[in-house]
Subunit: 337 residues, 4 copies
């Protein structure tokens, strides 16, 4: 962290500031005195330094970050790629995971049918929502705990590990048989929930918020990791921009940049990003080509009757076709799918 | 809601769709048959119609909204401005509320000192955070329940009603003596929390999410109101845009547009929007001039030592100066301040 | 176009509006009268209807578009993919074009060296800037006409057709030997320039503006096409969002959506989009996988000495490696590269 | 400018870089050597340093700006507010200018009628478009030179100085009798045009581009000023964000921030920002309260018949009412209106 002081700051004020900084933080200060400008370089645990406090000081001109404010999520702290193993289904480095299933769990028949179909096409996880964050209070809100039970049944029937979303701490008690707990985009900065998830012994799928920067996303991961849970899977699902031709704008360029900054696996959700079932294939292939570690896609046996987001769901046939394409791409990239 | 069908859709398919729509929704259909285009106009409780499901139909070209998807929050449903009365402190229509206080509650001395100062200058509410949503897990997270107790003490000392943020349902039990419960921007679409707040008998201050459209904001209010709690105060606190010269971009133009669409009061938080203490005066005056029903501003007795967001806090002297300016503006606008 | 009138609009006012619309536009009106709502469906040349004028009418509640406001650029007007042939180098449908070269033309030696290298690796066009739109007036502004001459020399030496940017109508006279004229992102809505380019007999490479929606982009193409020049190549080069980890946010999801709406070819510029040379490979592969018709990438023989945007330029070795990868992808997609 | 080098960079490489920087730029280097990190502080004419080139160096970790890249537009270079005097009509510091008139010049009768009306209400400039940048090639494109003649007639009739937009260098010859030349938002980075305007002896009204940061705007002003023309009036007219309830999002918070960074006057265009005539009053008052130096608003004698943007035009009556309000606000702010 670099602190640029205002020109002609008196020496005593500089010394007082340095004392305050070192007394409150575990950092060393590299003091560089020019004829006009004074620059303080802070080295050490700068993750803990309160940048707003520094900026509020009358003698401070500017504070610039050199190191990122996260640590456990950072690749410089942990250079090797993290591979997350969920009962044998792996995500990260050479392992490309495909999580497929309906937007919301509707019935046993629907869910098991879809689960069997996506497994046959090569999916490695079953996704499905029991608690649904809907924009309208008048829309179908999910089956709740009964939905979780149906997911567990489908898991037993197919052997696929299950991924499903938690919306509130109070629901966590019912997640015992869930394999991967998903945090939705709208909850990415629900810090109370993130802290709690630092203490569950399960991998967390953390979706990027609609207006979260890469740094915000990694700070949210850091919240979970700071609590002791290192198994975080990041998920890009579209950010909010001025463009309305797609529901959100899928930010695939975050993939190579994330790969530089973090060791955590990153998967892509093209269904929510575009909101258009016919655009999913294009984005799924692009995600693999760009270096993603997996996909999360919505598949429904009868999209026109779906209780939730029917316009973005693939049919099992469309999904099967996409999987066959992805396998050819995975070969080029030497990834296991 | 207007449903445009694809050209040359066979009549039976049209009739089947109409039947499906009317069997699932409380709407009437106005069928307009052109030579090529078929347009279905849905009239009635269109708030409950699943637009995604309609869009997933093979014969549907486009679905366009005419009515907004919220009802209780809508001005057409409730033409008169809502005035919220908190122990005599009013917000809405002619009443301009000023909520002032520190970002986070730090100590009894700090809080009571600030509370007395802002009251003397004309603030009508005391704000202060006990549970703090911080971007970094390593930053000060607030005093928690102890902070709430200090707020209650300051309320007793000054008579100012208190506004403070809840981050999770589990904290609500401790909010008995709080007057207005705040939902932060990052929790605006924490639907589980919103539903719960529909059942507390207190006004809710709902902050607009960083990437929430006006419609998203009103749908979040609708969640609370659908549960039976009609006392919702909306708060614009800056949206996320490409501009980094300010922390967020304060969207003051949402004020006149919200006034057209809803009867709920709307206040402005210039402190979080700009992140710059020296920009607060300009934006506070602009908010009043634009038609806002109140302000929420951060005031700290010693910003350079603040445990949270010191760079955006006003000193009591700055706040006093702003209040004297606002009173002159309020006179022109014939608002009680 | 659908015009929803306010409830209880008197019949004479409706008839007057209908008369005004049909007298000024070549459209038919489909009048649908409900008990409360009146809906007018406009069918015909709605591209010419002034939507702002309609919205200014006191009796109009809402105006909704059904058809897009462009025509010549629209796929419904021209269902087959457009293939643009530049001296045998093709772009569109099955032909994947690669335009490579330096950000700015610096010297004959530099340019010809790069041109030969990229040709050897498989590039099909040489790109290079002679007129440079730089953010700072103090930065290198390009060699101007002398740069164009060097491009023509390199074209003669290698046989590669050349693509270069025009910034103003007054420069066009010097573009006689240029094969494809580029319009930069900042000039995408320089309508005077676009109109002029409607009359030159050369293909235009039209870069999407940083805040241009898909519709804005296609309307800019329509400006050129309305003048009689049908050879427009669209180029996505990143849009401006809140994310600063990359220079811009590359919107690859626009590819499948553009393919639905237009017959024009679309290429991707990953160099400007990310501003990061090490992210270009990932995005180049993703672009091909997503369905793009080509790429525009910056290659420099010595990026560390480049007079312009050195941080985003590939070395010839990096470019060669990327091309070998792209050829394998092209095989899967059955595209000629 | 601060250049952070990678850890363990060998001394020779550091010295070579320092030599390169000082040989190409008029700066001094403040070398600060820590145990691990090396920081180079560049002081002097850093406006001319190529930041991209520095970032392309293999040994460079990060480059951070301390000073802004503009100079003539900067308040640190010119601390006193600039006041622009146009035949006695002043803009800046204590002078609040009101530029009013139709979106496009349509006829002599229309223009002179509006000009007289707005003058009577207190407008100090007449605005009106002769060359119109329309999104659609099929929309009315303005009267061109004939429109300029009508503006000059109205100027003679009323004495109001005129402001009108230039879209291309080739049109400038006809601007002899124009008092203030406007550059539209879509041309803000038409650098060829900006350079030319550096050599005309007239004030330039520079509109902020829809996705221009404050820095981009000031760099565009710098282009004009670098050519010798110091009379630049900045105009905020809404930026493009995800919010569609208003046409653009009016960024009023840029006012106090611009006032810190530049000495140039800044005016606000609420008509284009909101696109809603009924929202103009609210935003006009807010602009004055926020510290703006003036307004640009659209007024039309018959908005329902306007050839351009009728939905955002005020009637003369609405304008007169707003002016009476603004005069009361101006009194508080001690501004001449």
């Amino acid at each position: 962290m670099i602190v640029v002081l205002k020109p002609n700051t008196p020496e005593e004020a500089i010394e007082a500031l340095k004392k305050e900084i070192t007394s409150e933080n575990n950092v060393e200060i590299n003091h560089s005195q020019g004829t006009e400008t004074t620059i303080l370089g802070l080295i050490g645990e700068t993750q803990h330094v309160d940048i707003h406090k520094l900026r509020s000081k009358g003698i401070v001109e500017k504070v610039l970050r050199v190191q990122e404010p996260y640590k456990k999520a950072s690749r410089s702290f942990h250079p090797k790629d993290t591979i997350i193993d969920v009962n044998g289904a792996k995500i990260g480095e050479g392992f490309f995971a495909v999580m497929a299933g309906p937007c919301s769990v509707e019935s046993e028949e629907q869910l098991t049918g879809i689960a069997e179909a996506v497994k046959a096409s090569g999916a490695t996880f079953l996704r499905g929502g029991a608690f649904k964050p809907r924009t309208s209070p008048y829309a179908f809100q999910g089956l709740g705990p009964a939905g979780l039970e149906l997911l567990v049944k489908a898991k037993k029937a197919t052997g696929l590990p299950i991924v499903t979303e938690v919306m509130d701490i109070s629901q966590l008690a019912a997640f015992d048989d869930v394999d991967v707990i998903q945090v939705g985009a709208r909850n990415m900065q629900n810090f109370t929930l993130l802290k709690e998830l630092g203490h569950v012994g399960k991998p967390i799928l953390l979706k990027r918020g609609m207006s979260a920067t890469m740094r915000d996303l990694l700070m949210a991961a850091e919240y979970i990791m700071a609590g002791g849970n290192d198994d975080v899977i990041l998920c890009e699902r579209g950010i909010r921009t001025f463009e309305t031709a797609t529901r959100n704008t899928l930010d695939l360029s975050i993939i190579p940049v994330l790969k530089r900054h973090t060791h955590l696996p990153i998967i892509i959700d093209p269904s929510h990003a575009t909101g258009l079932s016919w655009a999913v294939e294009s984005m799924a292939k692009a995600a693999l080509a760009a270096g993603a570690d997996g996909l999360m896609v919505e598949v429904h046996n009868d999209p026109q009757k779906a209780l939730c987001d029917g316009d973005q769901a693939l049919t099992p046939e469309m999904f099967d076709h996409i999987m066959s394409q992805l396998k050819r791409y995975a070969q080029i990239e030497e990834k296991a799918i």
